[in-house]
């Protein structure tokens, strides 16, 4: 049997609330510690205890770590999902199961490993009775470790981290794990080809989840106020603020430079956030789609009143009980247009855990510079799962507090200023903050009904002028938001546009498109709306630009169509959402389903007036021709981040 090394997926099926997350995180972290690129995704139901839940880990030596739709190794711990779990093993795969589950084994094409977990735990006198079920999870980790050559030092490092160095739980779990490994060594014969081998591809990297990263980034951004209301999958973002603020912003006098308030609902959370932002604090809230629905009226007010606030939306499916624990990119158009009337909000789109950190601090700079609400769209996959990441880097620019007039400034201006006066002709007015003691500092804040000096008016001309300025300000914000990332490919014949957590799936799909179909592509990952010129140029380059996203209606596609009507004929939507983290399979299939091989890159003639698509269906036969067999490594695709991101 040919060994398959560092290239397979492991899925563990357990009962929700059975305490398997420690075990599964241990597998993930151990593989990471062995230097092998890896990802772990928790696929869980909305439930505290009892329902089936899965944790899927993908180890891949080439760095393709998007969720894989085939499971080479399946560990079944839950009788309720046993049949389904067994059926999900790829042919030639391995199936481990807890032997107290007495259900028929219907597969002959996979290696079957029964695990006497209960017996092993029972025989260990060091495990207290009430810890048996919890620690039992470690036994399957031990058996798996033995069977796929997981490194014991790496496992110990993972457990030490998990239990924060506390020896007693480390020992108890590690002993149970070793008992499992010992049993497997003596009793199981290896019948599958899957092995792990040490690599060096994760050297210098960290593992973190996006909500933690966002919170830490916000702390480095100087967050002073956060009001929030519990909601999956955003709660851990605000909770992480409470974890890290006391440590990172500790002062000798023990006093606080910040406040985190758990509000009574999202209406109040957003109201408090806006009140604080209005009064000059770096202010944020974090929520998900249903919470954002409640925040909508306030979001519109903040837009018109030009209040700087940061709103993290860790996207999920919803509302109500509609798949609340499943990931999504479904809030893009909602946040883009949030508020009634002609509102256009600036949206930042982090693509990985590092960018959750980075946008954590950057978002405040953009908010205060532009004086507008900034929506940061993360998602459940990024927010709650552990991702490999480069280490967080200290902000490379000083804070941008925007245009704020102090007492001294007002003295110099002899009190002559207007809150909504476009003095610098950039659409961004000056503001003052409550507590300013100058007698001319105060102004009265309202929605749209104000003149340049914040006096109430319903005058049509004044209204129009103000609305035009807001629109200018919005489009100008493209200068201050993170620029798109171009993964350049000179041989490309098609363009791919995507955003957020789908990047890994797209890298892999690009690889497959070249390898299996001979289609070379260039990938631009958007990191914000509004768009800058780089986006325009990118779309202009190709006859087919596939806009890939995790929702039903192709929301980014819709926004691009609106912003680039001249390119409408070549922007092709590849939208898919099943609640699971992005996988290369649907990206590839989505592109192939709409790909037209006849169209060529150059065709300068077509450039001006895009024609309607030819009626004929894409020819599948043409695209299946295999070209050069040589696998394209990820490193061959050059990544280039534009340095043009943020300048004052």
């Amino acid at each position: 049997m040919n060994k398959k090394v560092n290239d397979f997926s492991i899925t563990v099926g357990t009962k929700n609330g059975s305490g398997s997350s420690t075990a599964n995180n241990t597998i993930l972290r151990s593989i990471f510690k062995m230097g092998i690129p890896v990802s772990g995704k928790n696929l869980f139901p909305s439930n505290i205890q009892g329902l089936p839940t899965w944790y899927t880990i993908r180890a891949n030596k080439d760095g393709f770590i998007a969720r894989h739709e085939t499971n080479e190794i399946v560990i079944a711990m839950n009788p309720n999902s046993f049949a389904r779990d067994l059926a999900s093993v790829a042919p030639g795969g391995a199936f481990f199961y807890s032997d107290d589950i007495k259900q028929p084994i219907t597969r002959v094409d996979v290696a079957i490993y029964p695990m006497p977990i209960k017996a092993i735990v029972k025989n260990d006198p060091n495990i207290p009775t009430d810890f048996r079920e919890l620690v039992g999870n470690m036994v399957y980790v031990g058996i798996l470790a033995q069977m796929i050559d997981m490194d014991m030092d790496a496992i110990l490092a993972a457990l030490t981290f998990h239990f924060k160095g506390k020896q007693k739980p480390i020992d108890m779990n590690f002993n149970a794990l070793k008992a499992g490994a010992d049993w497997a060594r003596e009793n199981l014969e290896k019948k599958d080809p899957f092995y792990l081998e040490q690599m060096d591809k994760t050297n210098g990297m960290i593992m973190a989840d996006g909500n933690t990263a966002a919170a830490i980034g916000s702390v480095f951004g100087g967050v002073q106020f956060s009001a929030w209301y519990p909601i999956t999958p955003a709660s851990s973002l605000a909770e992480s603020l409470n974890d890290y603020l006391p440590m990172l912003r500790k002062r000798e006098d023990g006093k606080h430079t910040y406040a985190v308030v758990q509000a009574e609902d999202e209406l109040a959370a957003h109201g408090m956030t806006i009140g604080a932002g209005w009064a000059g604090l770096r202010s944020m809230t974090s929520t998900s789609g249903p919470g954002l629905s409640l925040m909508t009226e306030f979001a519109g007010l903040a837009y018109y009143a030009e209040v700087p606030v940061v709103i993290w939306d860790v996207q999920r499916i919803g509302p109500s009980t509609g798949l609340p624990t499943r990931t999504s990119q479904g809030d893009l158009t909602f946040t883009h247009f949030i508020g009634h009337g002609d509102s256009h909000s600036v949206v930042l789109l982090p693509g990985d855990v590092y960018e959750c950190f980075e946008f954590g601090w950057k978002s405040f700079d953009v908010a205060e510079h532009v004086q507008t609400p900034i929506f940061v769209l993360s998602d459940l996959d990024m927010g709650m799962n552990q991702w490999m990441s480069k280490p967080f880097q200290y902000p490379d620019v000083p804070m941008d507090r925007g245009k704020v007039l102090t007492e001294q400034d007002l003295e110099e201006l002899k009190g002559s200023w207007g809150r909504y006066l476009d003095k610098d002709a950039d659409g961004i007015p000056y503001r003052t903050l409550p507590g300013n003691k100058h007698p001319m500092s105060a102004y009265f804040t309202r929605g749209t009904g104000h003149d340049e000096y914040a006096k109430y008016t319903e005058d049509s001309e004044v209204y129009i002028k103000n609305m035009d300025r807001l629109k200018r300000k919005y489009y100008d914000a493209a200068k201050y938001v993170p620029a798109p990332v171009l993964h350049a490919n000179k041989k490309a014949t098609i363009g791919i546009i995507a955003y957020g957590s789908t990047e890994n799936a797209i890298f892999e799909a690009q690889h497959q498109l070249v390898h299996d179909h001979g289609i070379e592509s260039e990938f631009m990952r958007l990191r914000a709306v509004p768009f800058n010129d780089e986006v325009t140029k990118f779309i202009a380059k190709y006859d087919q630009v596939f806009v890939v996203e995790m929702n039903r209606d192709g929301q980014m596609h819709q926004i691009l169509l609106t912003e680039y009507p001249q390119f409408a004929g070549k922007l092709i939507s590849v939208a898919y959402q099943d609640g699971l983290p992005a996988a290369a399979k649907w990206v590839r299939e989505g592109i192939l389903a709409k790909y037209e091989s006849g169209k060529q890159k150059k065709a300068a003639v077509k450039k001006t007036a895009p024609k309607a698509k030819p009626a004929s269906k894409p020819k599948k036969a043409a695209v299946t021709t295999k070209v050069a067999k040589k696998p394209v490594k990820k490193s061959a695709v050059k990544s280039k981040t534009s340095a043009k991101s943020k300048k004052k």
Binding site: T257, E264, G275, W278, F392, P434, K437, P439, S441
Partner: protein, 351 residues
Amino acid sequence: MNQPLPMAGAPANTNAAGLTKNDYRGAPSTLCQGCGHNSISNQIVTALYEMNVVPEDVMKFSGIGCSSKSPTYFLNRTFGFNSLHGRMPSIATGALFADAHMKGIGVSGDGDTASIGMGQFKHVMRRNVNMVYIVENNGVYGLTKGQFSATAEKGLQLKKQGENPYMPVDICMEALVSNATFVARSFAGNPKQVKELLKAALSHNGIAILDIISPCVTFNNQDNAYHSYAWGKDHEEPLHEISYIAPRNEIMLEREMMEGEIREVAMHDGSTVILKNLEKGYDPTNRIEAMRVMEEAQRNNWLVTGLLYVNTQKPTLTSIYNLVDTPLNRLTEADLRPERAMIDKVNALMF
């Protein structure tokens, strides 16, 4: 109206802060002639002037409705935020974190507070936000032209709406059960009491709920309506006469103590509220007694006015957060961005 005490050295038309009454005024009112809200705005101007409060040291807030328009008509020199319907408390809660030395003055109405904003009203009290929360209560929606509000009494007849079939929400009762630390009721037609209660409320450290029956002359001023001038004048049952004594004017105490039964309430800033009880020997620090009096008044159709309840011992929201003394909105990057070495510390904490 009481004249302020003459202050040595200050010109007659300026207060101890060196400001004239004009410094406290706002834009001309656009509310209806005779609206109770205008009278309240005037008392806010006078109270702050007499208390020598600098307009830049307070923030004013409102929701939506006729009442919520009124912050435009007082304190031009004060930062203000006219927010959303029923959401004034959350805006104020967040804003007051920016400078914990500042006091909030919020103006709301009965629709804004008792209907759409009931949730935020309850929670702003629960948190003891340091602000005066005025409900200009007229039992009717004015701006949308005369619909019943949640404080309208059962059986009230309105022109277009017919008869109100529901029991009213009692703002003060709601405040009391929500652990508000200062609960008072007054009547816009009794400007002296309004002013004295405003002064006491401004001196209170924490949330001060002031339910002011403020008749709507346009949509709800029939003689038999609970929120009308005529009814209010006939049915007002003041618990006591009330005088507010600024911190340094203790000498007043002795003069006032000459009359009848007097109860003093010491405020956190050293000022005193003096209640001259009319009949009942009323103790405003007794929450159960306050509830009993309100229940009794409701049964008897009395409009009980005065300081119903006060508790000066509860910490305010911002004091719970142990904030630095410098207002948070004056902190700079040096205070807010962790030093460079901390990034390594954070990375070391990740796996």
